[in-house]
């Protein structure tokens, strides 16, 4: 995570990048790992049902009196 967020020290970052460039497994892992947030984000998008939206409106209208 530190590597991907760019918060490693320059020396450690350089050493890690050198390793990744040479190591197939680690390259594959990082490439795959980077996709994780997007996949799960897309998979968990939900729409707000109209009925729930209406309940919210009704609830909040009572507040505003």
């Amino acid at each position: 995570m530190e590597y991907l967020e760019g918060v490693l020290t320059p020396e450690v970052n350089a050493a890690l990048e050198a390793h990744v460039a040479a190591c197939e497994r680690c390259s594959a892992f990082i490439a795959s790992y980077r996709e994780t947030p997007r996949i799960l984000r897309t998979a968990t998008v939900v729409e707000l049902p109209a009925a729930i939206q209406q309940s919210l409106r009704a609830f909040l209208r009572r507040l505003q009196r």
């Binding site: 995570m1 497994r25 799960l40 968990t44 707000l48």
Partner: protein, 201 residues
């Protein structure tokens, strides 16, 4: 009463709403209700999300006068929504579910990943390999099975795309802790999804 134009900034609307402009408050609700609902579903469940939604905007309504613009309005609102979700979850007894530790990756004695590249790649192709409906269901199930502290950090950082700094503030932990928890959540979920696709571990 003057209706605020559609392109008013959040901060302008907040000020108007705090001064008693109900249309401005309704505009705020219209802008954020979908996002809050989605956040609530990810942190709790679709069953609990409506309550979180109501509690959130109730708190927003009550605390608008004390919003002074020290943060972006959206950040302030998200903090309220997150707290509403966590409060509600705290009030529920969780049925014990099988932890996802079993899905963490293994390393050999040299600290090298023991998973084959093909297995590693499965997780990133889960959206191609699994039916969309199945993936949605399994993603929800997996996230619900994460340890709470990992789930919260992961949902806010990766799904709601808040900055690590903001997540750290909302959750009251150090940024390094946020990164560690997000990382472990990602590893667990990747292992879980790979397993579903039937990749031999």
């Amino acid at each position: 009463m003057v209706v605020p134009p559609a392109d008013s900034s959040d901060e302008t609307l907040a000020a108007r709403a705090a001064a008693g402009d109900d249309h401005a408050f309704e505009e705020i609700v219209a802008r954020y209700e979908r996002r809050v609902f989605r956040l609530a579903c990810r942190l709790t469940s679709e069953t609990d999300a409506p309550d979180v939604l109501q509690n959130t905007f109730l708190q927003v309504y009550r605390h608008l006068p004390s919003f002074r613009g020290e943060s972006l309005f959206a950040t302030w609102l998200y903090r309220i929504a997150t707290n509403a979700a966590l409060m509600l979850r705290r009030g529920r007894t969780r049925k014990p579910s099988e932890p996802l530790d079993a899905f963490l990756p293994r390393f050999d004695e040299h600290g090298v990943h023991a998973d084959l590249p093909a297995q590693l790649l499965v997780a990133s192709r889960a959206d191609e390999l699994l039916d969309r409906q199945v993936l949605a269901e399994k993603a929800r199930a997996g996230i619900a099975r994460l340890p709470d502290v990992y789930r919260d950090a992961f949902v806010l950082r990766d799904l709601e795309e808040m900055s690590t700094t903001d997540v750290a503030q909302v959750l009251g932990v150090e940024p390094a802790t946020v990164r560690q928890r997000v990382h472990r959540a990602r590893l667990m979920l990747r292992g879980y999804l790979s397993d579903l696709v039937g990749v031999k571990r």
